[in-house]
């Protein structure tokens, strides 16, 4: 338990500082650590927890809290939350004073431009890894494809698409 808490603290404080472009860019590393390195849960469980977190309100990184809960209960929630949200918040506080001075500097723009393809590759990797773990049957793969298409082409609220996927799943068709 104590070792688990230390591992959670180490993993999520590092992820906190690497999460450029938001939470979805760190999903692949989170999955690698949680499933492959520490074997706290299966790939499919990781995807299910991610999906459960997407159905909840709030910032889109609440899967972090769920992983802490799954691994070590309430102490896990506390350690994981402080590790994930603490370091990046300290950076934000520290950067606020300097922002006026560096926001118009050219290097700031080049760093931001350079981070765009990094984030893009990481979000694409997240999509592949989560889909790979979620789509065990043809029906599930079809749900993924349909939701991807509708979400890309329309402005339908994501909550409707999640509910639709869950309902088709509930029928058990093809599973």
């Amino acid at each position: 338990m104590k070792n688990d808490l230390l591992s959670l603290a180490a993993i999520f404080s590092q992820l906190s500082l690497l999460a450029f472009g938001g939470g979805n860019s760190i999903l692949p590393e989170m999955q690698r650590q949680v499933v492959q390195v520490h074997e706290w849960m299966s790939k499919a469980d990781f995807s299910a927890l991610f999906a459960v977190a997407q159905a909840a309100p709030g910032p889109n990184m609440m899967v972090v809290t769920l992983i802490g809960w799954h691994v070590a209960g309430w102490p896990g929630v506390l350690v994981t939350s402080i590790a994930k949200f603490g370091p990046s918040s300290l950076v934000t506080i520290a950067a606020m004073h300097a922002w006026e001075r560096f926001k118009d500097r050219p290097w700031r723009r080049f760093i931001q431009l350079g981070l765009v393809p990094i984030t893009a590759g990481l979000v694409a990797a997240s999509a592949l890894l989560i889909a790979e773990a979620s789509d065990g049957t043809w029906t599930l793969a079809a749900i993924t494809a349909l939701v991807a298409l509708v979400s890309y082409r329309t402005k339908l609220h994501p909550l409707w698409l999640l509910a639709g996927g869950a309902l088709i799943g509930l029928t058990g068709f093809g599973q």
Binding site: L15, G22, G23, E29, R32, A48, A51, V52, Q54, A55, A56, P57, G58, P59, N60, M61, M62, T65, L66, W69, S81, F85, S89, V91, T92, I93, W99, K103, F110, L113, G114, L115, P117, I118, G121, V123, A124, A125, A127, L129, I130, A131, S134, D135, G136, L140, A141, T144, V147, A148, L149, S151, Y152, H157, L159, L162, A166, L167, I168, G172
Partner: protein, 183 residues
């Protein structure tokens, strides 16, 4: 700082309650709602100040809205304000998501419920694919950026390399390319 047309400077309690409300009501991405709450409804910031602060939050690591809760709290009430914003934003969703997690743990042995969660996970994967496509599509006009994105994708998703060393290799290359191309 003149605050004509603004509400008075929010207190620590008001910051906490503001972000608590935001956390509990924002489904599927909190950013559009954050703007409406902070600029239009509560009038804590005008549109320009909000955009400026959001620019900083997008530049730094961490979720945009999470950083925004810290930055806004800090701006009005220093460190206690930053803590109030962050805790307000996270406490509601944390409790809800743990509740959902408990339901998942207790019920996912039941085959029907397992099917429901399988469908939910498949749908969540679809949302991620759409998001990835929306981020990747504009790169088609920037071949050098597209190549970096594809290499990053292949390294992380296929070779499963750890994130820190992968970013330490590709980020400087990508920034250098951005600098060479745009200069």
């Amino acid at each position: 700082m003149s605050r004509d047309g603004h509400a008075p400077r929010p207190t620590v309690t008001e910051i906490f309650i503001g972000f608590l409300t935001l956390g509990l009501t924002a489904f599927g991405g909190a950013l559009p709602l954050a703007r409406r709450e902070i600029v239009e409804r509560r009038k804590w910031l005008d549109a320009d100040a909000f955009t400026d602060l959001l620019g900083l939050c997008q530049f730094l690591p961490g979720g945009n809205v999470i950083n925004l809760s810290v930055a806004i709290g800090m701006r009005f009430r220093g460190v206690p304000g930053a803590l109030a914003g962050l805790l307000g934003l996270l406490v509601g969703p944390s409790l809800i998501v743990i509740g959902l997690g408990v339901i998942y743990q207790r019920t996912h042995q039941d085959p029907r419920i397992a099917h429901l969660f399988a469908g939910l996970a498949a749908a969540a994967a679809g949302l991620l694919i759409a998001m990835a496509a929306k981020i990747m599509w504009p790169l088609r006009r920037k071949p050098e950026a597209a190549i970096v994105a594809l290499l990053m994708f292949a390294s992380i998703a296929i070779l499963r390399t750890p994130l820190l060393p992968t970013m330490l290799v590709f980020t400087p290359i990508s920034v250098l390319i951005a600098w060479k191309v745009r200069r």
